[in-house]
């Protein structure tokens, strides 16, 4: 194994562990702001993983849309719906042993699949860069979804604006 490989391995596991730990924090942290920042950690580490998986376009998209858009939205939402002066923004949860048990079973089942699935698939990594293919795909295979998406965003725009704006006093 070359040094590069070892280094990348280390990066990979570091990212994976960051993602794992951050998502754990999202699920359990009792402070709202801390939860949001943990989500940031998850998103960043996933972006890094996409990069390692050679999905360069998605790496960019993840950072631009998720981190730059969604997370900012979420933080806005937290600030708008809480008395932000209150430093201790508590984030309650109603955990019960049943829920934990069910989620654990779910996890066990998914791990089982994760361990058996690779037996049935031929693993063979792609070497070509992606961005060009994605561009072509958006104008061929994914043309219709792409166009539908634009209509969807229009509908979202109308709806989100309608729901969130203050009442116009007449």
């Amino acid at each position: 194994m070359s040094l590069n490989e070892i280094l990348l391995n280390i990066i990979f596991y570091a990212l994976a562990l960051t993602g794992l730990f951050s998502s754990f924090m999202v699920a359990t942290s009792t402070n709202m702001v801390r939860t949001a920042f943990s989500l940031l950690g998850v998103l960043f580490s996933f972006a890094g993983l996409y990069g390692l998986l050679r999905a360069d376009f998605l790496f960019a998209a993840q950072i631009l849309v998720y981190v730059g858009g969604i997370l900012v939205l979420i933080i806005f939402a937290i600030m708008l719906t809480h008395k932000i002066a209150n430093v201790n923004l508590s984030n309650e949860s109603t955990s019960s042993s049943t829920v934990i048990a069910v989620v654990c079973i779910l996890f066990a089942v998914l791990v089982f699949i994760a361990l058996t699935l690779p037996e049935y698939i031929k693993i063979n990594q792609r070497n070509k860069p992606l961005t060009e293919m994605i561009g072509n795909n958006l104008l061929s295979d994914s043309l219709l979804p792409f166009e539908i998406l634009s209509v969807l965003l229009l509908a979202c725009l109308i709806g989100a604006v309608y729901l969130a704006r203050k009442e116009v006093k007449e």
Binding site: I121, L149, V151, I158, Y162
Partner: protein, 487 residues
């Protein structure tokens, strides 16, 4: 590069293009304050009529199967049928919601444009062939639905319904995608038919199929509102504005079924499959019938009751997956037509009760029949039809589903049918409870502020008449047509 496929695709999707263009036009026109609400409403209706007309022409002439937009959607009689049905549902919904929404302080244009958008999404749901399209259009319908549920944003119930809807919806569509990613992993394709073909040559363990199916079912089942993904249903139905509820109870639910059929047809296919996926459907449909009907017994709120009735009906509809033959799919199409007719009709009566008489539960409707017998009679027709009593169309729709399921008689189908029959008898209690309250109980006075709008009365009467007429006349052609449209 050859771009002919775009041309063909666009040619064959004129109704969709009309709806998209129309939606944009309605939004644009709404900027001009001097245009009245009636005008915008008529514009939207015209769009739907136009789209419906084009579809009608297509559906008469077209036979065969085409794949459009590089495999994104299938263009066949199945998708045309649902296109027609969804446009009809949207049109009727739009028609009878006008008297309600015209008095809203805000949200009028939003309602019209979102209804059109949602219709577009449903049409694409029924014709989607890839996981991407399925997920995208499911979300399309869902997102527009979330907003529509919360259109009365200053009404606590409405906005709460919207929040509950989005929480359940977002969660379950995520779960569905997770399941789909496994199928993609195995087959390397997101086209359902390619996936199915590849799966047939692989020897996968049943546990894999089971887990994947359950995960994927989450997304579909939540749209179809079948147990165990039905929890949002009563709250959302109660909280959402009533015209929107009427729409939810028919359109998106049927669209979910259409997509499910396409999915199952692609991935598992008719005939033998490596995995006995029917078992899952036996469980969910039996549970839906039981929980839907038994919980409905305790309801007092009319919209909540209709929600549980919808869950129960979804259970009856899900029975067709037990056999999944051309016949049973045809009977589902027939069922969805009849179900739309009776459910929309029932909701029109609920809208009238709510708007003019301020009645939203069974108790307060006691003795109502003597104030407005016409409405009470129509309501009784819809309710009896929902039970499935002759001489109303609901009888045949249920019968056809049962008959298509019972043919390969074994203990499982027998069990499912038995549950279906018993729950049908149980369902009589709560449907008749409404009728009984209206006709048999003594009640207070019901004052009416204005005359019931013709735009509500006329569709109600027509739908009631249709419910009876479909039974009496020779409805062969309708069923034959449904069967010819099945996959």
């Amino acid at each position: 590069m050859d771009y002919n496929w775009i041309e063909t695709g666009l040619q064959l999707s004129r109704p969709e293009l009309l709806i998209i263009g129309g939606t944009v036009a309605v939004i644009m026109l709404s900027i001009f304050k001097q245009l009245s609400r009636t005008f915008l409403f008529l514009c939207s209706c015209a769009i739907l009529i136009g789209a419906g007309y084009i579809t009608l022409l297509d559906i008469q002439s077209y036979t065969g199967q085409t794949i459009l937009f590089k495999g994104a959607i299938g263009y066949d009689k199945f998708s045309l049928f649902f296109k027609m049905l969804f446009i009809a549902i949207a049109f009727i919904t739009m028609l009878f919601s006008y008297p309600v929404i015209k008095n809203w302080t805000s949200g009028f244009v939003e309602f019209l444009s979102l209804l059109l958008c949602c219709t577009l999404g449903m049409i694409y749901m029924a014709s989607s062939r890839t996981f991407l399209m399925m997920f995208l259009n499911l979300e399309f319908v869902s997102i527009t639905s979330y907003i529509m549920a919360g259109l009365l944003r200053h009404n606590k119930k409405s906005i709460e319904a919207s929040l509950k809807y989005i929480i359940y919806g977002a969660g379950s569509s995520g779960i569905m995608l997770f399941g789909m990613s496994f199928l993609y992993a195995i087959t390397g394709s997101i086209d359902v038919y390619t996936v199915g073909n590849t799966l047939r040559h692989l020897d996968l363990p049943n546990s894999f199929y089971l887990i994947t199916s359950i995960l994927i079912l989450a997304g579909f089942a939540y749209k179809m509102a079948i147990v165990p993904f039905h929890m949002w249903c009563p709250d959302v139905y109660e909280g959402a504005p009533t015209p929107v509820t009427a729409f939810f109870s028919t359109g998106p639910k049927i669209a979910g079924f259409a997509m499910m059929i396409r999915f199952v047809d692609g991935v598992f296919g008719k005939g033998s499959s490596p995995f006995e996926w029917q078992l899952i459907f036996i469980i969910v449909s039996v549970l839906s019938m039981l929980i839907g009907n038994l919980t409905a017994l305790q309801q007092n709120n009319l919209k909540r009751l209709m929600a549980y009735s919808g869950i129960a009906h979804a259970g009856y509809m899900a029975l067709i997956f037990l056999t999944f033959t051309q016949d049973s799919i045809g009977s589902l199409l027939f069922y969805s037509v009849i179900y739309s007719i009776m459910n929309l009709g029932a909701f029109i009566t609920i809208i009238i009760l709510e708007k003019y008489y301020n009645i939203d539960n069974i108790q307060s409707s006691a003795g109502f029949a003597y104030t407005n017998p016409f409405l009470a009679i129509c309501l009784s027709i819809f309710m009896f039809s929902l039970v499935g009593l002759p001489p109303f169309a609901g009888f045949f729709s249920k019968l056809l589903v049962f008959m298509s399921v019972i043919k390969p008689l074994n203990y499982l189908t027998l069990f499912a049918i038995l549950v279906a029959v018993i729950t049908t008898v149980i369902s009589l209690f709560y449907y008749v409870k409404i009728i009984g309250a209206m006709f048999l109980k003594q009640g207070g006075n019901f004052t009416i502020t204005e005359r019931v709008s013709l735009i509500l009365n006329a569709p109600m009467a027509i739908l009631a008449l249709a419910t009876v007429a479909i039974f009496i006349t020779d409805w062969d052609w309708l069923f034959e047509f449904c069967k010819s449209c099945s996959l």
